[in-house]
Amino acid sequence: MRKQLHRLNSGGLIDRTQALCFRFDGKNYDGFAGDTLASALLANGVRLFGRSFKYHRPRGLLSAGPEEPNALVELRTGARREPNTRATVVELFQNLEATSQNRWPSLGFDVLSLNRLAAPALVAGFYYKTFMWPARFWEKLYEPLIRRAAGLGRAAAVEDPDHYDKAFVFCDVLVIGAGPAGLSAAVAAGRSGARVIICDEDFRLGGRLLAERRQIDGRPAADWLAAILAELASLSEVRIMPRTSVFGLYDHGIYGAVERVNDHVAVPPAHQPRQRGWRIYAKRAILAAGALERPIVFPGNDRPGVMLSGAVRAYVNRFGVLPGREAVVFTAGDGGWATVRDLTEAGAHVAAIVDARSEINPESKTMALRVGARLFAGSVVEATHGGQALRSVTVRDASGKRARLACDLLAVSNGWNPTLHLTSHQNGKPVWEETIQSFVPGRLPPGLAVAGSAAGRFTLAEALRDGARLGREAAVEVGFAAAAADPVPATDAETDGLAPVWRVRGNRGKAFVDLQNDVTDKDVELAAREGFRSIEHLKRYTTLGMATDQGKTSNLAGLAIMAEQVGKAICETGTTTFRPPYTPVAIGALAGHHRGKDFRPVRLAPTHDWSREQGAVFVETGQWLRAQYYPKPGEQDWLATINREVLATRSGVGLCDVSTLGKIDIQGSDAAEFLERVYINGWKTLPIGKARYGVMLREDGFVMDDGTTSRLGENHFLMTTTTINAAKVMQHLEFCHQVLWPELDLRMVSVSEQWAQAAVAGPRSREVLRRVVDAKHDISNEAFPYLAAGEITVGGGIPARLFRISFSGELAYELAVPAGYGDAMMHALMAAGEPYGITPYGLDGLNVMRIEKGHAIGTESNGQTTARDLGLGRMMSSKKDFIGRLMAKREALVQADRPSLVGFRPVDTNNRLWAGAHFIGIGRAAKTENDEGYMTSVAYSPNLKHWIGLGFLKNGPTRIGERIQAVDPVRNGEVEVEVCSPIFFDPEGTRLHG
């Protein structure tokens, strides 16, 4: 095994018996189970993790957690390659492979670090100011250049091979964060019997306790932790979810979370998801997300080796890694002193303590003396030195005197910011708390409480107290009896004195506010000078606080510098709004199962398998897959197939599935009255056993849907709707009944799924049906004329319905059988029609025939057309009120020259037509002001042997015989067409009645 030079011999929460081998930038390393990628690399002495976004500066680890702005890597390879992964939260696994980002050709030697020389061009707002002209250079030159220079990782170029889950879970109390506050809350709520979920983004529960050397009840905190985790595990209604980040808070107690189920293994086990997106419905929630330590803005603060003081403790205490052997601690409060202690005890030498405060308490002075560290009170670090790793720092004391100190680690401590992000997702503006010099949660969303550090109460004692109290209260609020309260455990002494340093001015090197976006203190000043003073503008103008870390370490320093620039207090400048997600979330975890063919449910007709057997090509129609056409071997193209299907139907008999039409069963003594009100035409006179075509308007007067409705009994109707609008019409009818006219006696239910339905069309259709319908039913022309509708039986008693309706213009029927018999029906009709050459046709064949007959479908009733536009104006009854009646009469909708439906045929019958073409008078320019309408549907008519079209034309019906240009600049330019009746075929309708 390779030696891990910076690994401590003992201590930490890693398993030294379980070595894990991994690769970074092609080099092999070893780490241990319990490591993160960051801690394992650090243990191996790796300091350089990546290059910065704009300037390609060398960067190392700043943190040990989700706030990491620098150490972004591409994780895994090939299809599983994932860019911008924070090495600080990547759990190490055997054979992990990671690559640094944003460097070329290598991390150590990066050509584009020369960007630093061009730095003046990359200041705040550079992409608004630079490269503005000429515009065409943008796409070809500037953008590729910038994309290469400034950027993050590369996404995998192939489909993600893993699968993702999405799941829903309900609880009484959700606890976000499993540190001392969260664990106390969970156990307090759980003991009462409440359903509790406790989530933590870490793979190990304990929060800061894992990183600190603390005592609880006089014993190491680890003992308390073990006991409380054991108790939680024993409570059957408590669900513990490690590796789960709660990323968003939504209205009414809904929380979004992502569980990294298998991110800690190279490849997920079979049938397991990589990640699972959770929607958590919680009656109460307790935010115990802790706090994030703040860096200090000073020149050279981005050099690898400059690290947050709390992160140093995490690496030492949790991971058994010494981040440096010769350290300087730069602190603005008591926090840095804990780092001095822990570093020393771990065997590092602390060369100096630079405390920005001038007053140092005697105990601290004694500690400095004991560990052999020079103490600089009232001093700051004003520069760092070294190439790709820290070698020394320059300290400046209150009198301006400078000292240069050799070191390989600079730990910085500037207090903490509560992790309050989730509290601001619902307009809860954080409020400034002077005593801790930080923002704390403002108005909280209903049901949410905040415990411990997340509320700005940073001590361990407060965390334990808050958690226990809020956990109990939450359980009681949702109706559980409070469990007996244990005394809050005692903790060792702690102090949190602080006098934050927002920035150190110096004259050597850049001082970074936002390390991830390469935003410096000078950029903030520039933004202020240029007037971008609002905090929200500052963010957009400088990019401060954007990208994967969303300003977790940079936000406050940016605000503080802006406040200083504009002469305001931080509480006056306010803060930007934190929005979900708190942490990056893979789209896969949000989509779950719903991708590719499962993107949304697909609906299949009960005749689908039959169509497939017949070789159908299918097309999506809303959610449905419908047969489009049925090609036969040897047919040269789609058109040949359609022509065959149409000619066979018109000369013999064709068969088409129409099961997808919406079917609504309407019963009740007011059923006919109801139809009168929702359709434009009359229904009370419809005899039992008859079908009628109806048109429905929206209340604004435009056509909503159409179809036939049959009267099955005095108080019983069956409505059909178009396939696409079935659900919409049902919703509309329920609206009309429940909201508008609840007094009507009416019962409605969709029976769309109950019936398989087929159109049998063509001059031989009756003969075919005669062989399928049970013999006792008379379906002769006399007994069952056009528009007859009746309940019959087939196959020796199977209940069925027969409708003599026609969309094709032929003698035609629609036969409906219970859906389970749909497949049988198609086979029976094929067998019965065999002597007549029965031919299946699909949507395209149907389309040709309906255009030949001038029937409108969705391309004509497109939401912008009225019944009058469609030539159905005379259907509108004047004797009754109906939905859309008044609005359809509006002046603009009844103007004579409003485009209305007519037919078109090419003057030169060799020309084809295109839907979408606009009509322009012959000899006139193709301009908007000359536009007279547009073509909606076209087809090649194998009966007429040329193309035909339907469309809307100003004064259309009065212009039959006129010629006009159909102009389609996108495709074939102009075709001269003749205006004609929309009914191209059998205008007298004799075939219908045959």
């Binding site: 359903r195 719903h594 499962d598 449910p601 029976v751 020796g796």
Partner: protein, 204 residues
């Protein structure tokens, strides 16, 4: 000809070509069991608001109480589930005789036969709630969704009605009805969701 007709006019299961008996997912003891229900009869019963006699008719004809809001009444042969305001779903374990039953109900409610409109299945097992939680936006905890509870909702964007039939030795048993046309998409989701727990599949 008559013989041929008979051989053609056979009903086809809503699950035909979609669900096959067997096992999916990891090896070991099944965490979930699914059984398709291929011979059930369903019908919607709707009455005018305040209509009194459906309850007594239900009691008389199938021996069951008309359930109140969000519950189902079950016997070994029949059931009736609340399905909205003044709206119930009547069902029979076997289709034989169902048409006659509907005829006798038609004096007491607007009856619409839906026997072919739904694809039905029973799911059970110790992990079944974890599978359903991957699609159901309703709480399936016993304190909220006890035996006899029903809900109209969607699983993975497919409209469903389902109820908790009983609790077996292996945990809760649910019956789920999905629109026939979406049986394939439903199953695609269910199978993918159940695979990590090992799912045994039986056909009725």
């Amino acid at each position: 000809m008559a013989e041929q007709a008979k051989s053609i006019w056979r009903p086809r299961s809503a699950w035909a070509g979609i669900v096959e008996a067997g096992q999916i997912g990891v090896d070991g003891k099944p965490g979930v069991t699914a059984l398709t229900l291929d011979d059930m009869g369903f019908a919607t019963l709707i009455v005018p608001p305040g209509s009194p006699d459906l309850a007594s008719a239900t009691k008389r004809m199938i021996g069951l109480d008309l359930p109140k809001k969000a519950f189902v009444s079950l016997s070994s042969t029949h059931g009736v589930a609340w399905a909205g305001a003044n709206h119930w779903l009547l069902f029979a374990r076997q289709q034989a005789g169902f048409v006659d039953l509907l005829q006798s109900f038609s004096d007491h409610a607007a009856v619409s036969d839906q026997s072919h409109a739904r694809a039905a299945l029973t799911v059970s097992g110790p992990r079944v709630r974890e599978v359903l939680a991957k699609g159901a936006m309703v709480d399936l905890h016993s304190s909220v969704f006890p035996v006899g509870a029903t809900a109209l909702t969607s699983f993975a964007h497919v409209h469903v009605q389902f109820w908790r039939t009983d609790d077996g030795p292996d945990g809760p048993i649910f019956e789920i009805l999905v629109p026939r046309s979406m049986a394939g998409s439903f199953w695609s989701w269910f199978a993918a969701s159940a695979a990590e727990f090992n799912c045994r599949i039986d056909r009725d």
